[in-house]
Symmetry: C2
Amino acid sequence: MQKAPTRKELSHARIVDVASRAIRRTGYHGVGVADIMKEAGLTHGGFYAHFASRDAMLVEAMQHAGQSNLASLARGMTHRLRKGGSRLRALVETYLNDAHIDRTEDGCIVAALASEMTREDDAVREEARRRIAAMVALVQSTLPEDADLAQAQLVTATMVGALQMARALGGKAGRSILAQTRQALIERHDPGIPH
Amino acid sequence: MQKAPTRKELSHARIVDVASRAIRRTGYHGVGVADIMKEAGLTHGGFYAHFASRDAMLVEAMQHAGQSNLASLARGMTHRLRKGGSRLRALVETYLNDAHIDRTEDGCIVAALASEMTREDDAVREEARRRIAAMVALVQSTLPEDADLAQAQLVTATMVGALQMARALGGKAGRSILAQTRQALIERHDPGIPH
DNA sequence: TGTACATCAGTGAACGCGCGTTCACTGATGTAC
DNA sequence: TGTACATCAGTGAACGCGCGTTCACTGATGTAC
């Protein structure tokens, strides 16, 4: 059985969760250490008892964001699969749901930060690569058995790109991009539909 | 005939060009006013004789980046079209060229900044939307006559997403994503190839 | 062509502000007997 | 169960630094006669 978490471990988890939302909402550099600690109900001085540096916190925040978003996608897929349809359809309809446009804060970490990833320091970039790989793996698990990694990467890139453009354009135009992308991905890659 | 540009107009153009590269290289907030002025061979104090605010400069820089990148894509396409093939193939092979991975600085402004666009102030976001629209228009001009806007948006999103993922992953993995995307886009949308 | 003056374009010091990080301290929690 | 002490977790003031912006000034360019 699991040990009860210490007071410090609880604080730590709270900080990481707050940070994982903050960076998705405002980017890697959008919120400061002090703001994050405040939102976690603490003062900024204690930050360095939890992390070696701001970057170290970013790494943990990205990992948490990725894992909890993948878990949330899995829940959405399970829910949709009960109504029938392929795993790919379930993923596409969950990921490219209109609600994902506005819910950046608990949405996909890759879509939230893709264009900023190349500008961060090594440790952060490395974690970014792991987050992308994890998402590609989920996508691949929804494709036909013989689909290779490159195909999963293509589908991932299409979903991420579509979500970003939907967010940048907003409104009706944004929703229409998602609709078009859902349709195209399901038509072309769904194992249940001949093509 | 065109008037000779004044000394100030020349400086202005130089600042905008430097800034358009800087934001693509390091993001909207990656380089400060002082650095940009220095790279343009000036001192920071003169900045506000050229722009009402830093944001106003960002708007001009994005416009310049978008226009000069589209012009550069058009040149690349013309060059490739001489060797035969469709306009779509020419665009895809120019945009998704391996060299575009490293050349962020004079590459696509949308791929360079997509995930950051939603976080900027109104004027900047508005210009970002115009840059996306301009790129979608170029893409649409390479698709079959009956292709609608939504299809052009989908192809654009796929190219932008693929380039971003290629940059984030880097190396061999990055190049393989571009290759897969080139192949898929040409196969599916090329008017010369039946599908 | 030369001189006197007005305008233009850029300089560099200074401003208030917020950032990441450090550190001496404090109050709460846990442990030993 | 109660007391004494050690450790833990968090506090808040302070640091050096770089940012966007302002402004009084200067030297170069252009214009009038």
